[in-house]
């Protein structure tokens, strides 16, 4: 197989969520001397972006998104250590979790997949994450962004509780706070004092990039 065929295969098989084939092609690519960055940026990420676009249009459904994400994650297991060696910088570190009292994780997992696909390093704390666990994880991992997910109108108030906990811990200014979930609106995000909100997974990635760029531009401005 030519390098081009391997990249095309990676793209095609990721798109349909064929994890064993993606893993196999990743190994073949490495054996053929393809750079991990090339496979990531020219096949895997574009495939995930296409999955996201189809999902947004209603052409793809939840299981298809999840298996595509899983196929990509399998490849990333192999590529991540190599990318770290070659110094391919991660876009930023994203700490994610579903708030306390809420066990919904499909949306959150989709956002994780898209974020990772876009080049973020994602640390997922899972579901029912209490404010003190967010605080401890922020201290430990020093993320650029923390994301709170809630699927219920009744658990959304935990956004505010989490933000209060960050303030109390003196961490609020160190992280960008993003919130999301089915019942969440921009208005609600503003009301609880979040920095960002997005209605779906691909918008979340765009918003995360914008917020990060904004934060770094400010940080880089000489005073």
């Amino acid at each position: 197989m030519t390098e081009q065929e391997i990249l095309q295969g990676l793209y095609d098989r990721t798109l349909v969520g064929d994890a064993p084939a993606v893993l196999d092609l990743t190994d073949q690519g490495l054996a053929a001397g393809l750079a991990p960055e090339t496979m990531l940026f020219e096949a895997l990420i574009p495939a995930l972006e296409e999955v996201g676009a189809r999902f947004e249009r209603g052409d793809f459904f939840v299981p298809e998104m999840l298996i595509a994400g899983r196929a990509m994650a399998g490849a990333m297991e192999v590529l991540r250590p190599l990318l770290a060696q070659t110094g391919a910088a991660s876009l930023g570190r994203f700490l994610m979790g579903t708030v306390k009292g809420d066990v919904h994780d499909i949306g959150k997992n989709l956002v994780n997949i898209m974020l990772e696909g876009a080049g973020f390093e994602v640390i997922d704390l899972g579901v029912q994450v209490a404010p003190e666990r967010f605080v401890a994880a922020i201290r430990e991992h020093r993320p650029d962004i923390v994301g709170f997910s809630a699927f219920l109108t009744t658990t959304m108030p935990m956004f505010k509780a989490n933000i209060n906990a960050l303030e109390k811990a003196g961490l609020r200014d160190q992280v960008i706070v993003m919130v999301g979930g089915a019942p969440v609106t921009q208005e609600y995000a503003d009301a609880v004092g979040a920095d960002g909100y997005a209605a779906d997974a691909s918008t979340a990635v765009r918003r995360a990039k914008e917020l990060l760029a904004g934060r770094r531009a400010v940080a880089g401005t000489p005073s």
């Binding site: 939840v62 299981p63 089915a182 969440v184």
Partner: protein, 283 residues
């Protein structure tokens, strides 16, 4: 076992020898931005529309949820319950995870309501069961606890046992007023999800004979042709021992599936309901 729900003038009985109880899910602002906005502005006109449509579609009980973000849920819920009880005599399922809202809703409700819901978590049981007892209501109890949603039927059965013990022994709530939610998860995110739900339903039926109720629409989330999946799921779940569901009463496939299950499982003798529903459609 029979769970009896009442409005001021009507009684609905949930039980394995009764027609499958359709609890209409529509009166809920979650995922309905315009409805949420109207409710927040104090405009309850859509509630009346949703009541009428679900009654016409054959719902036996109506779920009422007032979870509008940044709104006074207790106040809104009581207004909605009062309004709805002026427009239908169907019993209501009072749906909130805010204890104050449940308390306020129960205080104004006329009849015997179904409270939705408690879980197997100690603090939730301690907050909600006293209300259920005080108002003589029935309660939906989710088979999950502090540790999240159990992945196996065995664990869900164990939590059911705990709920039954606490509700009956500590609060004196009769067995028949406990309706267990065996938890229906999204099959699009976990291929085995419905198998676990069906296994849980059978296990709870065999061990306790309790009535059960679940959110049926969860199953088909994120998939195309949701109503067809919902209908197939309801029939399977009814065969396993599910006796009610909070479901889309406005999807004729789903309601028809419930009525078909009644006939097929021997709860519609000689197909009387099935045939009269057919005649009604013929006009």
């Amino acid at each position: 076992m029979h769970t009896v729900l009442r409005s001021r003038t009507r009684e609905v009985v949930i039980g394995p020898d009764r027609p499958f109880c359709v609890i209409g899910e529509r009166i809920n602002p979650t995922g309905r931005a315009k409805f949420a906005e109207a409710l927040r502005a104090g405009d309850l006109s859509q509630v009346i529309v949703d009541v009428r449509r679900q009654v016409e579609a054959g719902a036996h009980v109506l779920d009422v949820n007032a979870g509008v973000p940044l709104a006074d849920e207790a106040g809104l819920l009581t207004s909605m319950i009062k309004l709805i009880q002026g427009h239908t005599d169907l019993p209501l399922c009072i749906d909130s995870s805010v204890v104050e809202a449940l308390a306020a809703g129960l205080a104004v409700y006329q009849g015997k309501a179904l409270v939705n819901s408690v879980t197997g978590e100690d603090d939730r049981l301690a907050e909600i069961l006293p209300l259920v007892k005080r108002y003589g209501a029935a309660v939906v109890a989710l088979a999950n606890d502090e540790t999240g949603i159990p992945e196996t039927a065995g664990q869900r059965l164990e939590i059911t046992g705990k709920i039954v013990r606490v509700a009956t022994e500590e609060y004196g709530i009769p067995m028949e007023d406990i309706v267990i939610d065996p938890l229906a998860m999204t099959v699009g995110a976990d291929t085995d999800a419905v198998n676990v739900t069906l296994e849980t339903i059978r296990a709870i039926r065999d061990a306790y004979g309790l009535n059960m109720c679940l959110g049926a629409s969860n199953v088909s989330f994120g998939l195309p042709d949701r109503h067809a999946l919902g209908a197939a799921f309801l029939a399977m779940a009814a065969a396993a021992g599910l006796t009610s569901a909070i479901m889309n009463a406005l999807a004729p496939e789903c309601v028809t599936a419930a009525r078909a299950a009644d006939l097929l499982l021997g709860n519609d003798p000689w197909g009387a309901n099935w045939i009269s529903a057919y005649r009604a459609r013929q006009g």
